[in-house]
């Protein structure tokens, strides 16, 4: 009996507390984050200092059918325009130029990734996230939102790469 009455009292206290709390925080709630954040930051640092999205891996060609490609010094504008159209219909649901969205912005990607890596990532994102270190880390960094395979042809993928050179 004693225990139950104590429990009820405790429950009432919790209820009171939670009701009061809710009213005070009408605009949502915020956790005291500063302390919490440090710990996971440290553990992730242990695996790699730079987040995957900012890492420069120009020597990595990724995993997949694209082994070696050479880019013309001149950008093929017709091909780039074609790539832009394909990008618009197939990719912009997740990739925006002006911001980080579901996935990263393709702006400046050629400063961080090799052309081969980019094409392999578009052609078979599942294989890449399974077998390529950087792709795997990107998946984790971007919240586990797996990149969709849009079943693009080699030519379409190449055109998108050309479009990326113009960004």
């Amino acid at each position: 009996m004693k225990i139950t009455s104590k429990l009820i009292a405790l429950l009432c206290a919790i209820l009171l507390f939670s009701c009061g709390g809710k009213e005070e925080k009408k605009d949502g709630f915020s956790l005291e984050r500063s302390k919490v954040e440090e710990a996971p930051a440290q553990t992730s640092v242990a695996s790699d200092e730079v987040p995957a999205s900012q890492r420069i891996t120009l020597d990595e060609k990724g995993v997949g059918q694209i082994k070696e490609i050479t880019l013309d010094p001149e950008i093929n504008t017709a091909m780039a325009a074609e790539g832009e159209a394909i990008f618009k219909t197939n990719c912009t649901a997740c990739h925006k130029l002006d911001k980080r969205f579901i996935g990263p912005s393709p702006k400046g990607i050629l400063e961080r990734r090799s052309p081969e890596w980019i094409m392999n990532m578009i052609l078979d994102p599942q294989l890449m996230t399974e077998q390529d270190r950087c792709a795997k880390d990107l998946l984790v960094e971007f919240n586990g939102a797996a990149m969709a395979n849009q079943n693009l042809t080699l030519e379409q993928t190449r055109a998108i790469l050309e479009y990326f050179r113009t960004l």
Binding site: K88, T89, N90, T92, A93, C94, F101, I102, N143, G144, A145, A146, A148, N149, Q150, N151, L152
Partner: protein, 651 residues
């Protein structure tokens, strides 16, 4: 006492040994069962060697199975609304179920038949019939979706359907119930001599399969039960079994079993085709729906047709004959050579086999035994090739293997009987569990059967599975027919009530099965071709939401400015281009079903908000690790509110 006990034990032991010796079947049951298990076992990740398409009967749908495993892969909605995909609920598919009676969201689906070229399965389409509100449907075997449904006027109980000629020139639909043609108000008991039985010939366009009702033959008022095309030498003819040649209109259970023999009607459709091509036949006003689903617009349209050409059989001499066949024949099956027409008198013990050659000779020699409504009746003994004295009871349906054998189901004695085509000798018989109706051998209704498996579809299940209350799914059995004797391999439950099935080797369909719809080929009127085209448009109280989906969000996912009394059309375009990544859509309080949108496809769901509030919608198909996050909100304001129409994502 002890002595007695011992002797009893001894007796028991002896008798056990006896049973063991005398019944090798039973004693080796374990070994037999394990070899049967190996024959149907498909290891994880492995695939079946045959597709089987089982009709769903009163489910209105078609089910796809694998053989020999008996695993069900898919239910294809045809005549019934199907919440799983939104078929019959989405705006695009509602027109598919339109008829002259309005929207009919159900039918009784009976006989699947796979398209053929030169009498061999070609795997382009599968045809099925709706028995109740007469319709024929064509299902694509690349998308496994219903592409076309045509209503059959002047027909009722569309049962001797939907069987195709050997180059898929026609899909044929015969009426089971004769009716007044045209329909009119008249006393039922004036049936005899006044009602007609319509046999409909629907052409199939070779390139895209489009159906057109070319002509209807208005036969005497019998019941046309089942039918089969002639093949090879008999190509150009079609055979229909009949019962109720008594033309009874009541208590048919007794009144339609008076005649010792009914008929198999032989129809020379090539002759009639030519007659119609030369201007023959009578144009008759009609009203029937023709519904077509377009794969590129992802949209069905329904058109009402207003005319049909009818043919009076007495106007085309030499095109119609009646073959007397005992005891209300049900199954009417033609062997792979096209020589034999098998009539299964369902109230008989024997199976009657007619010969095509003898029939032609009898026609030539005018060996007639009178006529019925101007159609010559051929002399029974002049057309009959033989009788299978089976010893069973209640033969129904026959399929064939590639070794000159036939397999007939017997409903009353619950068995499949194997017999030789030509000698009529019974070679084997195996019990079924229980009361078998149809049977199916892949290609067993073509010039080229694949003689590996036989599926028996039973009407009664009883004790075969764990009980599930008074209603149980029907059972089917798979037999190995590659040897001299049939071997029962496996039981599996079916869905609805299978009336017949069609099967084919997996390699015929596997490579051509569509994986995605291409987004750049999507010609839907309300497509959202790229996410920046996503928008909301108001037109009076009609609101059109152009929405796109990809793993794992809707664009847009916040919509405001909707009002009570609006009719909101959510046009969802799935921007995935990867195999097996559909997204679903549903919203609270919607009076239809969810929709499941395939990659590259657009589907529309209607919602009529009735209450003010902020209402969530979500993806119904677990699409990714972030599927639970795939949701959105619609703000619904009072009808007279001034909240501006707006939409957003991630703002």
């Amino acid at each position: 006492m002890k002595k007695v006990k011992y002797s009893m034990l001894g007796l028991l032991g002896l008798s056990m040994i006896f049973i063991g010796c005398n019944d090798p079947g039973k004693s080796s049951n374990g070994a037999l069962a394990s070899s049967a298990a190996e024959k149907v076992y498909i290891a994880p990740g492995q695939r079946d060697s045959y597709y089987a398409f089982l009709s769903g009967g009163y489910s209105g749908n078609l089910t796809v199975y694998g053989l020999p495993s008996g695993r069900m892969f898919k239910e294809i909605p045809v005549f019934s609304q199907f919440p799983t995909s939104g078929y019959g609920y989405s705006e695009e598919t509602k027109p598919m179920l339109n008829t002259s009676f309005g929207f009919v969201p159900w039918d009784d689906l009976h006989h699947p038949d796979i398209s053929q070229t030169n009498g061999e399965l070609d795997g382009r389409w599968i045809f099925v019939n709706g028995n109740n509100t007469p319709r024929i449907a064509r299902v694509s075997l690349s998308t496994f979706e219903t592409e076309e449904i045509i209503e059959i006027p002047n027909s009722a109980g569309n049962h001797s359907s939907s069987f195709i000629t050997e180059n898929t020139e026609y899909v044929v639909a015969g009426t089971r119930f004769s009716v007044p043609v045209p329909q009119r108000d008249m006393p039922i008991n004036e049936y005899k001599g006044n009602f007609k039985g319509a046999l409909s010939f629907i052409s199939v366009a070779p390139d895209n399969g489009r159906l057109n009702l070319e002509f209807q033959i208005l036969m005497p008022g019998f019941n046309y039960d089942l039918s089969r095309p002639g093949r090879a030498k008999s190509h150009g003819w079609f055979f229909f079994s009949t019962y109720n040649t008594e033309e009874a209109n009541s208590l048919l259970e007794v009144m339609a079993s008076q005649n010792d023999k009914d008929f198999i009607a032989a129809v020379n459709w090539m002759k009639i085709e030519e007659y119609v091509k030369n201007g023959g036949g009578t144009k008759m006003p009609a009203n029937y729906a023709h519904n077509v689903y377009d794969e590129e617009t992802h949209t069905g349209t329904s058109t009402m047709k207003k005319e049909v050409i009818t043919v009076d059989p007495t106007d085309v001499p030499g095109a119609f004959y009646l073959l007397p066949t005992p005891k209300s024949p049900h199954g009417c099956d033609v062997d792979p050579s096209g020589q034999y027409i098998i009539g299964s008198g369902k109230l008989s013990a024997d199976i009657t086999v007619h010969s095509f050659d003898k029939m032609m000779a009898a026609i030539e020699g005018k060996k007639f035994d009178g006529e019925a409504y101007g159609i010559p009746i051929l002399k029974f003994e002049e057309v009959m090739a033989g009788t299978v004295k089976s010893g069973g009871l209640g033969p129904l349906h026959t399929e064939f293997d590639d070794k000159g054998n036939a397999y007939t189901t017997f409903f009353i004695s619950s068995e499949v009987v194997k017999w030789n085509v030509g000698t009529w000798e019974v070679l084997d018989r195996k019990p079924t569990y229980y009361s078998v109706g149809h049977l199916m051998i892949p290609g067993g209704n073509s010039r080229k059967p694949f003689s590996k498996y036989l599926v028996a579809m039973n009407k009664i299940t009883k004790d075969r599975y764990l009980p599930t209350g008074p209603e149980m799914e029907h059972s089917a059995q798979i037999y190995d027919i590659s040897g001299d004797k049939m071997e029962l391999l496996y039981d599996f439950p079916t869905h609805g009530e299978p009336h017949y099935a069609a099967g084919c080797p997996a390699e015929l369909l596997e490579p051509r099965s569509k994986k995605i719809y291409r987004l750049d080929e999507n010609k839907h009127k309300y497509v959202t071709s790229s996410p920046d085209q996503a928008r909301v448009e108001r037109n009076g109280n009609e609101v059109h939401v152009y929405m796109s989906t990809i793993r794992s969000h809707f664009t847009p996912d916040n919509i405001e400015g909707i009002k009570v009394g609006d009719k909101v059309y959510f046009h969802i375009t799935n921007h995935e281009q990867d195999f097996d990544v559909p997204h679903g859509f549903s919203i609270i309080g919607q009076n239809t079903s969810e929709i499941l949108v395939m990659p590259g496809q657009t589907k529309t769901s209607v919602w009529e908000p009735k209450q003010v509030g902020v209402w969530p919608f979500y993806c119904t198909d677990f699409c990714s690790a972030l599927h639970q996050e795939m949701q959105g909100y619609v703000r619904v304001s009072p009808a007279n509110a001034n909240v501006e129409l707006s939409w957003s994502l991630g703002e």
